[in-house]
Symmetry: C2
Subunit: 677 residues, 2 copies
């Protein structure tokens, strides 16, 4: 049955459980439910929520149950009848159509009429059938009393018919009539219905929360002239390039005034020269703090212009939220109560002994003045939202209290449900999951350090199949300004191609830090380090985007494939397939509508050509065993005709380290021509 509105209120009914011992139906095992309902699940607009529950009662009576859902701003619940699966389990789906929070729960009742009908079907003794028909007549008359015209009249007529008929053969036919059942089903007696003990929540985001391609760039490196400090207007000139690459989001490191006190020099040097630009994450100087723009980038007006230009190209600008201060940040003088003091009276800088970060002052979230601090930090978000920014990449959220994030994200999203928060927490699994549960829209992952077939298979199976998928939306980055992996340092051009294809096809959301990525920047600051040599974090770089070896065309192609294939725009359908070569990884994704099937084969070895057999579960993939199917490699343009579960693949990293096939299920054969037969 499709959803329909109703006067029922699952919340109100809950209270009755404790007080009315006649409520006989039980609801348990409701899924999805995170930590006993403590946290919401996540969806994007237009997605469905499939709810399952165990519903049963004592004895032989038949139960019915509905999933009730409503947008939290609607007062009326909508109901969807649940269908029985095996083993007392029921299931129904509803679709979330608007941004914001939805609530859902389950309502169930012992259905007297349906129970009667089931037993009536099994009755054989004529006297018994006669008496039972009168019981049924009574039930349908009661249903009529609950209904309005025309159902009421029709049910009353059925009650009369069941009472007056004495031929038991006819009575049995009447009692089991479909119209009778359809009428009765519309007017059940729910006076003893039970509501599930909890109302559960769904946070509904916009589509970009589920599928997004991010491009991180440093505005100050965008100048046309080498050595010039790039400005927002240089950034604007870069937008066409990023749009051509096919990304959705341009993410900028902090754009605020950079502290001068204890400023770091190139390669994290403690002895900078006066011209060194410093780290954008050392936020704040006498020129302003988190709500100001670094003068060397331009003005707030310039920033607004950049936003508008991006919007024209279908791009969104994401800002970096790094809640920390340079020593000369205005907050330090204005709000000394927000910082911890050392015994010598100086402000406590960030540290992870023996490392000291004397250019950064963390906020003291255990300050007695935590309330004004929280409010100020919320103001920072509100300020940039006011300027038109709707996406925030949050720096190190795992070093600020969970309770703060839960509060601030909830506060922001209640007013601006379209806002997206990306959690940059590279830390322990439980901490990353907690941040996702409490509200972050997307989360960075361990992808950068998952390079082998077993590592990738295990990690993405966990991300895509475990209960955490209900709230943890992975965002996979092959590199960031902090992460230049060994694989990229030593794997050459094929390594960059491999990691791009993996990120872009394993995960619906991914990002690269460019142009370092497409220009294959791969020198570390020192051996064994994941820091870039001459990192943009501490100095301005000038990138030659026209370099003939740039991967920009390859990046464009991969992003176009993502846009053209709905299968790649969601995470849950990912399945890995067997290959007989440990360097070859093979996986597929299928679209929700089952009409787009993408198969990826990647050679994880950046140094050697590898070949082997891949084995596909054709039945499971909807390809069937009987017919050939077409494999169109969207990277190379080549077409293959495959006929069996096992197929041979050879990939040379020097030419193409990956296939990204679109599989078409039906290949024409002579049987498809009308002269056949």
């Amino acid at each position: 049955m499709s959803p329909r509105s109703s006067a029922s209120n699952a919340g109100e009914l809950k209270a009755e459980i404790a007080t009315d011992g006649r409520i006989r139906v039980v609801i348990e095992g409701v899924k999805p439910e995170i930590d006993g309902g403590r946290f919401p699940i996540k969806r994007v607009v237009g997605e469905t929520v499939a709810v399952e529950a165990d519903v049963f009662t004592d004895g032989h009576d038949v139960v019915r149950c509905v999933v009730c859902h409503r947008h939290e701003q609607d007062s009326a619940w909508r109901e969807t009848e649940m269908q029985a699966l095996a083993n007392d389990r029921f299931r129904a789906e509803f679709t979330v159509e608007e941004l914001g929070r939805y609530r859902y729960t389950v309502l169930a009742w012992v259905d007297r009429f349906l129970s009667w009908r089931q037993e009536f079907a099994r009755r054989v003794d004529p006297a018994d059938v006669l008496v039972a028909a009168r019981v049924g007549a009574e039930l349908i008359a009661q249903a009529a009393a609950r209904a309005a015209a025309p159902d009421a009249e029709r049910m009353q007529a059925w009650a009369d018919r069941l009472r007056s008929e004495h031929d038991t053969t006819k009575l049995k036919r009447l009692g089991l009539d479909e119209e009778l059942w359809t009428l009765a089903a519309r007017h059940p007696n729910r006076s003893l219905a039970a509501g599930y003990a909890r109302e559960l929540e769904v946070v509904v985001d916009r589509a970009l929360a589920r599928c997004s391609a991010w491009y991180e760039l440093f505005p100050r490196s965008c100048a046309q002239q080498p050595d010039a400090h790039g400005m927002f207007r240089d950034c604007e000139a870069r937008l066409d390039y990023v749009a051509r690459l096919g990304f959705d989001i341009v993410y900028l490191p902090p754009i605020h005034p950079i502290g001068r006190v204890k400023r770091k020099g190139p390669n994290n040097s403690l002895q900078p020269s006066p011209e060194d630009p410093g780290s954008p994450w050392a936020i704040g100087s006498q020129e302003g703090g988190h709500m100001a723009v670094h003068p060397q980038l331009g003005t707030l007006q310039d920033f607004r212009h950049l936003l508008a230009k991006a919007r024209e190209r279908g791009l969104e600008i994401a800002l970096d939220i790094a809640y920390q201060c340079a020593p000369d940040h205005p907050y330090v003088a204005a709000h000394p109560e927000w910082f911890r003091r050392r015994p010598d009276g100086t402000v406590q800088y960030a540290e992870n002994p023996p490392k000291q970060y004397q250019d950064i002052y963390p906020f003291n979230f255990e300050s007695d003045a935590w309330r004004p601090l929280w409010q100020e930090l919320e103001e920072v978000l509100e300020f940039w939202i006011g300027e038109g920014v709707k996406i925030f990449r949050v720096d190190n959220p795992h070093t600020k209290p969970f309770a703060f994030w839960e509060w601030v994200i909830d506060a922001i999203k209640r007013a601006h449900p379209e806002v997206i928060f990306l959690s940059e927490a590279f830390t322990r699994p439980k901490v990353m999951h907690r941040l996702a549960k409490l509200g972050f829209t997307q989360s960075y992952t361990y992808f950068a350090w998952r390079n082998t077939k077993p590592e990738i298979t295990e990690y993405f199976t966990e991300l895509g199949q475990r209960p955490g998928r209900e709230y943890f939306r992975p965002n996979c980055w092959p590199n960031t300004p902090d992460i230049l992996t060994e694989y990229l340092q030593f794997g050459g051009r094929p390594a960059f191609m491999v990691r791009l294809v993996l990120a872009a096809t394993l995960a619906a959301s991914y990002g690269i830090y460019g142009p370092a990525f497409e220009l294959m920047e791969h020198e570390p600051r020192e051996p064994g380090s994941e820091e870039y040599l001459d990192s943009e974090k501490y100095q301005i770089r000038h990138w030659d985007l026209e370099r003939p070896d740039s991967l920009s065309d390859f990046v464009s192609r991969v992003n176009r494939i993502r846009r053209e294939n709905p299968a790649l725009q969601a995470d849950w359908s990912l399945r890995f397939h067997r290959t007989d070569n440990d360097s070859l990884i093979c996986y597929s994704k299928i679209s929700e509508k089952q009409d787009n099937l993408v198969l990826v084969v990647v050679n994880l070895d950046p140094h050697h050509a590898q070949s082997g057999w891949v084995e596909l579960p054709l039945e499971e993939m909807g390809l069937g065993p009987a017919r050939a199917f077409q494999a169109h490699d969207m990277l190379s343009g080549a077409h293959f005709l495959w006929q069996a579960p096992r197929n041979f693949v050879a990939l040379d990293p020097q030419t193409a380290p990956a296939h990204v096939f679109r599989l078409r299920r039906r290949v024409r054969s002579e049987r498809d021509f009308d002269y056949f037969m």
Copy 2:
């Protein structure tokens, strides 16, 4: 650390989470927890509860956490410090020492001193060490202010020492001193501690709830003279026999007056003769109802005498609670509101169309008068508890509302925590589990229909390893008056031996319906039926207990083995082992103290001798690979010396279809004699 009492109240602290944003620690994933804390777990007196939780905070700070527990009649919580496992998981155990309900929860805090100590250990820069020492001095001075003498003085002295010392090498040694840490650990600052959101519960039963051997008998079949109606005093004469067999509990079918209206005759006949005794489950006649004794069995006084005689022999009497009425039960006239009426005004009898049970009137739990009905049914239990009965086998609980059972069991156990309820629900898995969750102490199982090696392995692995084990205590019966399985019908004497050994060693609680079992009664009422021919449910039987082929000695031996081996007195340690013959099943159990190891091998084929190799994970079983070990078959008395993981076993059902070995880990060798070397 061992439990210690404390003034902390986890309950009170919970409220702070919402209001104090400075609380930075998070507690989640607490286990055991049933359905988000909706239901209690179960233990018996003296058992431990191992609690695990994920506990973590933002940043690098160190957390500490305790499990808090208290008997619900105590107001003070006891605390046990949790120890870190891997991956932010912590664990602690507590022991439940008294009957009744316990509550437990988790309390956690960011430990400032421990965090300081961990960072202090990593500091190297002398100036940094000096400043940090002063921070530490401040923390320990604060701890001193929270403490009383002598700790306060000692910590103050430590604070002075840390302040006055300027040699950084000495300072580092001082700061990391164990005494300092031990003192500080005793006086943590818990002002920002977090309590887990829920208090969870444990129902603590007496030992018999975990391990019990039941013997069901019909008192009316206990007369010395054939054809005489057995009485309670005949039952008394049977007690020595049951005690010799080694059982703990004698369970009697209903002992109340039996209805005369619609009484059933032998083999469920609808045409009884006036002398037929009827079914004990058709309860109530003009002689009384659920609080009366059937006159042909004797008087209430006689029943009390039977209870006393049983007690003298270490036996307990269990009564059957069947909440249903014969048509002439006094309730039918006195409380017509407790029954459903048919349209012709007659009372609705029990039915499962097309079957009709016209001798049984079920209560209508949807009656408006449900409150007085519930109270009356509770009265029935209170009445028999008053007479000294502390164990109830509950007939078909799945045909009465869950809410009723939850209420009545809770009400009874609050007043009488020693009472045991056995749920006789042979129905769908979720329903059986719900009854166990809501309060039944033990539950009948599907054991009777699990006969093959894969069936037994899968079922008992589920019972012993899945989360349901926290509340579902299985009780395994090879037969009941309603269940004569095909295996017993056709397997002959070996089948009875096999099923006895399986029930008694797979499950810590088991029962047989005797003397039908030990006399190997195996004729069904008709082919394909599991009903006994000439079932005691409808007629009196006279059993020849002295029959030479009786299995009574075998039963005695099996029960003695159970009593002598703690490994067999609990369920969770059960592990199955590989055999290369599908007719041979092999499993082991080990006692909680790890000092009693029992290995069972059973030939499931009652018709043929079977042999094969069994393979034991010696390391896992604590036997080690290096030495031989002794296998003493406690059924046959034979001793084997085994040396390898693989051992050959041959079992002839005609002589002995099973081994029940006690494995002794250390076998003496020449190296154990002092002349060696």
